[in-house]
């Protein structure tokens, strides 16, 4: 069956197409070129007053795994739909079903859980398998696990570390590697309450810098497309922009992705000891070639913060709203913390956080290096993306909100001086083409022949850009129309994206012994096979290519 999206205004930045009237043809779930349409077109959809973009990709959103489920459990009061006063727009820790519905309704077709604990991989994938519509994947957490820290302490070779990293990618069915507060989660288990980039952890005597160095190198050596995904040290602490800069330097020029950089761009100037360091961070971002980031914009209102960073979540638990929280040490592997939080527009700190995120967006010279995220749900639920897009595209709208915030923040941010308005093409880059590129997803984020027919069609006539992005008129997933005029047409189930660089299998022998001695499960049980993913977990695996053959 061939479907034709006829004469829409197409934005396909990967192919350098910006606002060009074009037809898009779909066959068997893939996009095909007009010249290759050999049989009759079965369905023609008139898109003359429509905007066509590839399906959006969220490269950092907490949608599955232990901590997400803890948040759901903790915040039960936010999902009793039959309760009087239930707010249907409130998606605080949504169920898997609701997650899928809300994403697809906004035209998002691929999402990544960024904090997949290796020991919790089975659960994270099982949860994500129950999210309808979207393709998904995860980044496995390393850098706080005792096995890895012991490798570093023993001064193991880079090639052994590469084997371990490749093993983890494969065993946990992940697309990338993330490090959260490098070494800090582990140090917290030994009662250390802070760990700066060049500070040695008390037990292992290893610094966060060494961890970042080794892991960025491993990712580079293995040819894994997505750079090391880093949640830096000192999250949320005033003055932390300095440790963020040191973390950038720790990559030694190799590719590195800093996540929710808004939370890592704080100065400590002024009488409140809290100020924006967005300019300093943006200077690095604009200058350093191999550096990318996602923003982690905050929005005012209720949300819940969840992180592998038990050290900083424990530190933050006094701010819990509603007043309940949980932290956990996990399996000599990692940790987590869940703290509900309400960002208040009357609060100096929260208002400045809001401004800092926007500054970073607006100061970024290259939209291919900055990704649109709220670190769902840490900064705000992902359902606020349309609102965020409007903030970026409409400076009057932005300034109107800014003017309602505490006046003192104007001494500590330059937001009011920034006149930039994002274009539709730039939005298309940062929500489609750029994430696909940085994740190495060749068949996503573009409308080239052979790519997945994941397509979002917006109504050009909608006056309000927020409304346009919130309610696309058509969403197509793998060639099937799944949303039409806001209504779900069909349920489809996506696949799990992974990458599997080679490794020397002898590492499994050593790991097997380690598990035997110190773990409470066998290595065999820890490894998630493709078969198990398919049959028990419930999601087929798609293996993406590495950039090149392993270097060492």
């Amino acid at each position: 069956m061939i479907t034709q999206l006829k004469s829409g205004n197409v934005y396909d930045p990967h192919n350098k197409i910006s606002n060009v009237k074009k037809d898009i043809f779909i066959q068997d779930g893939k996009i095909i070129d007009k010249k290759n349409v050999r049989s009759k077109v079965d369905k023609i959809i008139n898109c003359s007053d429509k905007i066509i973009m590839p399906g959006a990709i969220d490269l950092h959103t907490h949608i599955g795994g232990g901590k997400v489920n803890i948040a759901r459990l903790m915040l039960e009061e936010f999902h009793n739909e039959k309760e009087p006063g239930y707010d249907s727009s409130a998606i605080i820790a949504p169920s898997t079903l609701k997650t899928g519905l809300k994403y697809i309704e906004m035209g998002y077709t691929t999402c990544f859980e960024p904090a997949l604990l290796p020991i919790n991989a089975r659960q994270a994938h099982a949860e994500m398998s129950d999210i309808p519509f979207i393709d998904k994947g995860g980044y496995a957490l390393l850098g706080n696990d005792d096995y890895f820290l012991d490798l570093l302490r023993k001064k193991s070779s880079q090639s052994t570390i590469n084997d371990y990293v490749a093993f983890i990618l494969s065993a946990t069915q992940s697309l990338g590697i993330k490090v959260v507060n490098p070494g800090g989660i582990n140090a917290f288990k030994f009662n250390q309450r802070a760990l700066n980039v060049d500070e040695k952890s008390k037990y292992y005597g290893i610094t966060p810098r060494e961890i970042v160095e080794k892991l960025t190198r491993a990712i580079y050596d293995l040819g894994v497309p997505h750079p090391l995904h880093v949640h830096c040290s000192n999250l949320g602490i005033p003055g932390n922009f300095l440790s963020t800069i040191e973390t950038i330097k720790a990559a030694n020029g190799l590719p590195i992705h800093l996540t929710h950089i808004q939370f890592q761009s704080y100065g400590n100037n002024g009488d409140k000891g809290f100020s924006s360091a967005a300019v300093e961070i943006s200077n690095y971002l604009n200058k350093i070639e191999n550096l990318t980031c996602d923003v982690g914009q905050i929005m005012f209102g209720q949300t819940v913060t969840m992180s592998g960073d038990s050290m900083s979540q424990y530190r933050n638990h006094n701010h819990a709203h509603p007043n309940k929280w949980m932290c956990m040490d996990i399996e000599c592997d990692a940790g987590c913390g869940v703290v509900p939080f309400k960002y208040k527009d009357k609060s100096f700190v929260n208002a400045l956080q809001w401004a800092i995120g926007l500054e970073i967006f607006l100061l970024a010279e290259d939209p291919w290096k900055v990704f649109l995220t709220t670190d769902h749900p840490n900064g705000a639920p992902f359902t606020s993306y349309p609102h965020l897009i409007k903030l970026l595209m409409d400076k009057t709208f932005r300034n109107d909100i800014l003017n309602q915030l505490p006046k003192e923040i104007l001494n500590h941010t330059i937001l009011h001086t920034l006149k930039r308005e994002y274009t539709l093409n730039e939005i298309s880059i940062m929500t489609r083409s750029a994430p696909a590129k940085i994740l190495g997803l060749k068949e996503k984020g573009n409308l080239s022949e052979g790519s997945d027919a994941d397509i979002t069609v917006y109504d050009k006539n909608k006056k309000d850009i927020e409304e346009m992005f919130a309610h696309p008129s058509l969403v197509i997933k793998d060639g099937k129309i799944v949303v039409e005029n806001g209504k779900i047409k069909e349920y489809v189930w996506g696949k799990t994206h992974t990458v599997k660089p080679d490794y020397d299998k002898s590492i499994e022998k050593d790991l097997g012994k380690f598990f035997e001695k110190y773990h409470t499960m066998k290595l065999d049980n820890y490894i998630l096979s493709d078969d198990e993913m398919n049959s028990l977990v419930g999601s087929p695996v798609y293996v993406n290519d590495c950039k090149y053959k392993r270097k060492q």
């Binding site: 599955g64 997400v68 803890i70 089975r122 037990y203 996990i330 110190y518 409470t520 028990l536």
Partner: protein, 416 residues
């Protein structure tokens, strides 16, 4: 022809430890655990088929074909208003099918142990909570406080796998194990025999746990019934020296006390407070009927851990209204579908309402259900996934025998 097979690293489905180091030898459809002399071996072997096993569907006392039983169920459900699916233990795929079946028929879904679940999660839903997991405890805990003895009787291998393991990443000279409540001399001996540790047993009435913890947290040396001054001083000294304290209990143990929730809240608060200057965490032991598998999967699929009703595409959760015990006792449901794949106890049947059981072949009942469909046991008859007591780890279950029974998933998907 006899076929014999040795299966290593079987994952045990029968309690929330889910040990995966069991080896069994199968001969045709019978199996024997190679590691003898443990309580667990007996338990695992008790699911072998025997003369009392029911391997064919029954309507009342009459053996019928599966298709007939299924048809009968469909008709029964169609003719009734309110159907409850009561989970007595099943793996992830079974739960997914329970939910999709329930959503098509607007059923209520509950787990038989929900009340214990709510006691533990009450803390997460109302206050602060510090948790830990089995491997952390095994390697890191230098002091473990066990409240009540059920922890050790329910999950027998907690002792050798976690409390007194042979190896540890961060060895302490001697692990301190503090037992609060009544522990038999046999259990104490059992722990001692397994590894290097000091055991202190305070024979305290569990009702007094809150007061006891208050005493630990202050300089007060006031005494409680069952607590000697020397004991209190000793425990204070142990805990002051400890660097990673783990508290463990099982909620069902407190059911005999006046206020179980209060006891759990007191333990959790005590642990949270220790973290101001040191490290400590809780590790409750859940029930043995795949309680965690149920609460985890329901939570991600619906937002609620148990006691839910499907209502045309959305879910309503109400702990009182959808409490299975209450629904059955007060006859507020007309049909109960019991799903029971790992339970070893007698299934309670209230014959005033219609009872359908999807259960393993050795299921026994207080009275004959209307319909019984024998289903396979996850981890014995088919592969599956279950969650361990510490929630964060889930395990893959294997298939070790082939007695051609359908899974719960097969049956429910067929009915849906």
């Amino acid at each position: 022809m006899t076929s014999q097979n040795n299966i290593k690293n079987l994952t045990c489905p029968f309690c929330s430890m889910h040990c995966d180091d069991i080896s069994v030898t199968t001969t045709n459809d019978q199996y024997k655990v190679d590691q003898k002399n443990t309580v667990c071996a007996k338990k695992i072997e008790s699911y072998n088929l025997n003369t009392k096993s029911i391997v064919m569907p029954m309507v009342g006392k009459k053996v019928v074909k599966l298709s007939e039983a299924l048809k009968k169920i469909s008709n029964l459900i169609k003719g009734h208003n309110e159907t409850l699916i009561l989970n007595h233990g099943v793996e992830l795929a079974g739960l997914r099918s329970i939910l999709s079946f329930a959503s098509q028929r607007n059923c209520i879904v509950d787990h038989v142990n929900s009340k214990f679940l709510y006691q533990n999660i009450g803390v997460v839903q109302r206050t602060g909570y510090m948790a830990t997991s089995l491997t952390e405890t095994k390697n890191r805990a230098d002091a473990i406080i066990i409240f009540g003895n059920e922890v050790l009787t329910k999950t027998p291998r907690l002792i050798d796998k976690v409390l007194t393991p042979k190896n540890s990443l961060f060895p302490t000279s001697k692990k301190e194990i503090i037992l609060i409540g009544n522990f038999s001399a046999k259990i104490v001996k059992n722990i001692k025999g397994k590894g290097k540790c000091n055991i202190t047993n305070i024979k305290l009435d569990l009702n007094l746990v809150g007061d006891f913890l208050k005493l630990l947290a202050t300089d007060d040396l006031k005494l409680l019934k069952g607590l000697k001054k020397s004991e209190l001083i000793k425990i204070k000294n142990i805990l002051n020296k400890s660097k990673y304290i783990v508290a463990t209990w099982t909620a069902s143990d407190f059911i005999k006390t006046l206020n179980p929730k209060k006891i759990i809240a007191a333990i959790c608060k005590y642990i949270v407070d220790l973290n101001v200057s040191s490290r400590a965490a809780c590790m409750p032991i859940s029930g043995i009927l795949a309680d965690e598998t149920s609460s985890q999967a329901l939570t991600w699929m619906t937002g609620f851990p148990s006691s839910i009703k499907h209502m045309d595409g959305t879910f309503k959760h109400d702990r009182n209204a959808f409490n299975s015990q209450k629904l059955i006792d007060e006859k507020n449901v007309d049909v109960v579908i019991h799903v029971s794949t790992i339970n070893s106890g007698k299934l309670k049947i209230n014959s005033d309402i219609t009872n359908i059981v999807l259960g393993h072949p050795n299921t026994t009942f207080t009275s004959t259900p209307d319909i019984f469909i024998p289903v396979g046991i996850p981890g014995i008859d088919y592969e599956g996934i279950m969650f361990r007591t510490d929630k964060v780890v889930s395990v893959a279950l294997k298939k070790i025998r082939d007695i051609k029974l359908p899974s719960t998933q097969n049956i429910l998907d067929n009915l849906a």
